[in-house]
């Protein structure tokens, strides 16, 4: 186990990125910023020239941006699951990683929402979904679910910050403009019993509420495809399939974020390899579930040899999309499973490799979910194809760069560790689930 550190050390570690930004910070921020600027330029170009410049055509009408939308909003789920589920189950090891997980959720969601705009032919008309919605459209419900989820994610990130900001306001360097902000945002927090009750209650409500909310987001995203009735998408498993995919890739991104910030911000005293191992176990369970769902989907659709589905299945498993599909199946499904399962690769490097494979592999998986069903001929004739252009690639790379950029910018202003929670959980006796009694394991209260 890690050594116990004092509260002062803890506060200093949490605020180190705020108080002192070394050369390393700017060395990372600069290239990330350039990539994001390039993406903004490419988007401007695309708005000027039309979506054709991104590589689309009438047969490949949905492709890279729709995959990006699902991917980025999907990884946003990781923050929700790690934070909310670990809170609800009172998992003791959660404390040092909840802030990172919640920030991951917020910023990958923001980037994912950008793709909802980037993929539109007329992004400036998005407000029509407020002023003149058609309620039977899955796209309208996507809009409702995602914006609701955004509000919930902001609240979920903000609530645990309140006591932290109150505690840390005094530790900021004198004259920092942040002091006033910390005081304002901490809402006069003095850790009074009444305040504590209120905050705990609010956190519990949010932790419960955010789970069905996230489920709804990914279900409705799936229905934007599944309700079109197109062979390949027209599958009843699609909603839970997308939810599991989101959880799976989301936990993988949390692993990458936790490992990255642990290294870059020197959080080793609080986040250990065992945190990554716990998260990796979670990822592997979801990996196996997702592989099972994929198998169930393909078997259910393909086995009956239905005339309309067979061509799509053929293209996916043995045709032009087969290389991508099998690269995902091995690299994004089986290999991560092995890397975590085998004891000699179940180390930081192995887990980070597995998580990176999952995040990249799940993007590829979304491409082979979206593109073949879109590009199939519905009457007769050949298959459509999407051509990756500099516009769509620049925007996609810039979006991926925007997540660490936004997170580093955020932690330039706010504490990277939830100091109050770490402190509380260090003081509290270990709470063991009641089920332990049934198995003759140590129970709550045994510590005393």
């Amino acid at each position: 186990m890690r050594k116990r550190t004092s509260r002062t050390e803890l506060d200093e570690t949490a605020l180190r990125p705020v108080t002192s930004s070394g050369r390393g910070f700017w060395l990372v921020m600069l290239p990330l910023g350039l990539l994001v600027l390039a993406a903004l330029f490419a988007w401007g170009w695309q708005i000027w020239q039309g979506l054709g410049s991104a590589g689309y055509n009438d047969q490949a009408f949905w492709s890279i941006y729709e995959s990006n939308l699902v991917t980025f909003i999907g990884v946003a789920y990781g923050g929700a699951v790690v934070s909310a589920i670990l809170r609800l189950t009172r998992t003791a090891w959660r404390a040092p990683i909840t802030r990172l997980a919640e920030a991951t959720a917020l910023f990958s969601l923001l980037v994912g929402m950008m793709f909802a705009l980037v993929h539109l032919g007329r992004p400036e008309r998005i407000w029509e979904l407020v002023t003149r919605p058609r309620l039977s459209s899955p796209i309208f419900w996507d809009f409702v679910a995602v914006t609701t989820y955004l509000v919930a994610t902001v609240i979920f990130l903000y609530l645990p910050l309140i006591p932290d900001l109150a505690a840390l306001a005094g530790r900021l360097p004198a004259g920092s403009r942040l002091v006033a902000w910390y005081r304002r945002l901490s809402l006069d927090w003095r850790a009074l019993p009444a305040q504590r009750r209120l905050l705990d209650g609010a956190m519990a409500v949010m932790a419960v509420a955010i789970i069905p909310m996230a489920v709804s987001v990914h279900s409705v995203l799936a229905w934007a495809f599944a309700l079109s009735g197109r062979p390949g998408w027209d599958s009843s498993i699609f909603a839970p399939y997308f939810v599991v995919a989101a959880l799976y890739s989301g936990v993988a991104l949390v692993i990458l974020v936790v490992a990255g910030f642990r290294q870059g911000y020197r959080l080793h005293a609080y986040i250990g390899e065992d945190h990554l191992i716990h998260l990796a176990y979670l990822m592997v369970v979801l990996d196996a579930t997702y592989l099972y769902f994929t198998f169930a989907d393909l078997l259910g659709e393909g086995f009956s040899m239905n005339n309309s589905v067979v061509p799509v299945m053929g293209q996916l498993l043995t045709g032009q999309y087969a290389p991508s599909f099998w690269i995902w199946a091995v690299g994004g499904g089986l290999l991560p499973l092995l890397l975590v399962a085998l004891p000699w690769t179940r180390r930081t490097w192995g887990i980070v490799t597995a998580a990176a494979l999952v995040v990249a592999g799940m993007w590829l998986k979304r491409i082979v979910i979206v593109l073949p069903a879109a590009a199939q001929p519905m009457i007769a004739g050949g298959w459509g194809s999407f051509h990756f252009t500099w516009v769509s690639i620049t925007i996609t790379v810039g979006a991926a760069a925007a997540i660490p950029l936004l997170m580093m910018g955020f932690f330039r202003m706010f504490p990277v560790l939830s100091v109050t929670e770490i402190e509380e959980l260090a003081e509290e006796p270990v709470v063991r689930p009641r089920a332990h009694a049934a198995f003759g394991l140590p129970q709550e209260g045994d510590e005393e």
Binding site: G50, L51, G121, R122, R125, R132, L135, S228
Partner: protein, 290 residues
């Protein structure tokens, strides 16, 4: 709305439809349920949705003065437009496509009526022109998030390109791949007699979806669609289910219901429940399901 318009005596399959729950009814029920569960101000939205469905695009209508009857949902429309395509006559010359593109100033990729080369169960090839099917239950309409796609009382499905957000959900939903996106800036077109409207969307608008409109603005002027007059084989009839007449490109007029009945006309992908307004007369051994 006139959702039963094509299901009268003129429709070859009209008698066989059982009075079970309609998809539209089901969806409306689901929408209302969703609204009850949902977000603030939804009753307002439901009201608004009904208005949009009932009287689409009052602004566009007023602006163009296009004589497409959209004034009131209650008003009984005088026409229910339909099309009949005789595949026995079609030789696949694609002059319908050319005539359409010339009429609407479309680029070569936008084949609002497209001629497909089909193979029948005996392995023989034949040709099938595919306009927009003007479905009575349009899958494209239900998925349109901003209500840009709507159906007129005369049974024509139109897109308001001043509203379309370009999400392409309709392209995903259309089982006839009849919708085309303006991926680039459309080429300049000569000055038109009317400003662009859903019934006469010329020029096309970048970043929005377009499709065959049955030359809607022409119909009430007594003009035939460009593809009908452009067909040298008289394979395409334009007709009115209410008046029960159909006219081919030469102007010879027949009784529509009799044309359909005598030739065992069918609708494409009938099993999807979209109830197209386009009928096909098949040749020997031809089967549209291939």
């Amino acid at each position: 709305m006139s959702q039963d318009g094509g299901n009268g005596p003129t429709s070859p399959d009209g008698a066989g439809r059982s009075p079970t729950i309609r998809r539209r009814d089901l969806l409306r029920g689901a929408s209302v349920l969703g609204a009850a569960l949902g977000v603030f101000g939804l009753s307002e939205m439901v009201h608004f949705r009904d208005e949009v469905l009932a009287a689409p695009m009052p602004t566009a209508e007023a602006a163009t003065g296009a004589p497409v009857a959209m004034s009131s949902a209650a008003a009984k429309a005088t026409h229910q437009w339909a099309m009949v395509i005789d595949l026995r006559r079609c030789d696949g010359c694609a002059q319908c496509t050319t005539a359409c593109q010339k009429e609407h100033f479309l680029p070569k990729e936008q084949t609002w009526i497209k001629v497909y080369k089909m193979t029948d169960s005996a392995g023989q090839t034949y040709h099938m022109p595919r306009p927009c099917m003007q479905c009575e239950e349009p899958p494209c309409l239900r998925v349109c998030p901003a209500g840009a796609t709507f159906r007129t009382d005369e049974g024509i499905v139109l897109v308001d390109q001043s509203v379309c957000i370009g999400c392409r959900a309709c392209m995903a939903a259309c089982p006839y791949e009849a919708r085309y996106f303006n991926w680039e800036k459309p080429a300049a077109v000569p000055r038109q007699p009317t400003p662009p409207s859903p019934a006469w969307p010329t020029p096309q608008v970048q970043g929005t979806v377009g499709k065959c409109v049955f030359c809607a603005a022409h119909a009430d002027l007594g003009m035939l669609p460009a593809c009908v007059t452009g067909c040298p084989m008289q394979a395409i009839y334009f007709g009115d289910l209410t008046a029960d007449v159909a006219t081919d490109g030469q102007g010879s007029t027949v009784v529509l219901s009799q044309l359909l009945r005598d030739n065992d006309a069918v609708r494409y992908k009938e099993e999807l429940g979209t109830r197209p307004r386009v009928y096909y007369i098949l040749g020997h051994a031809q089967d549209l399901s291939y």
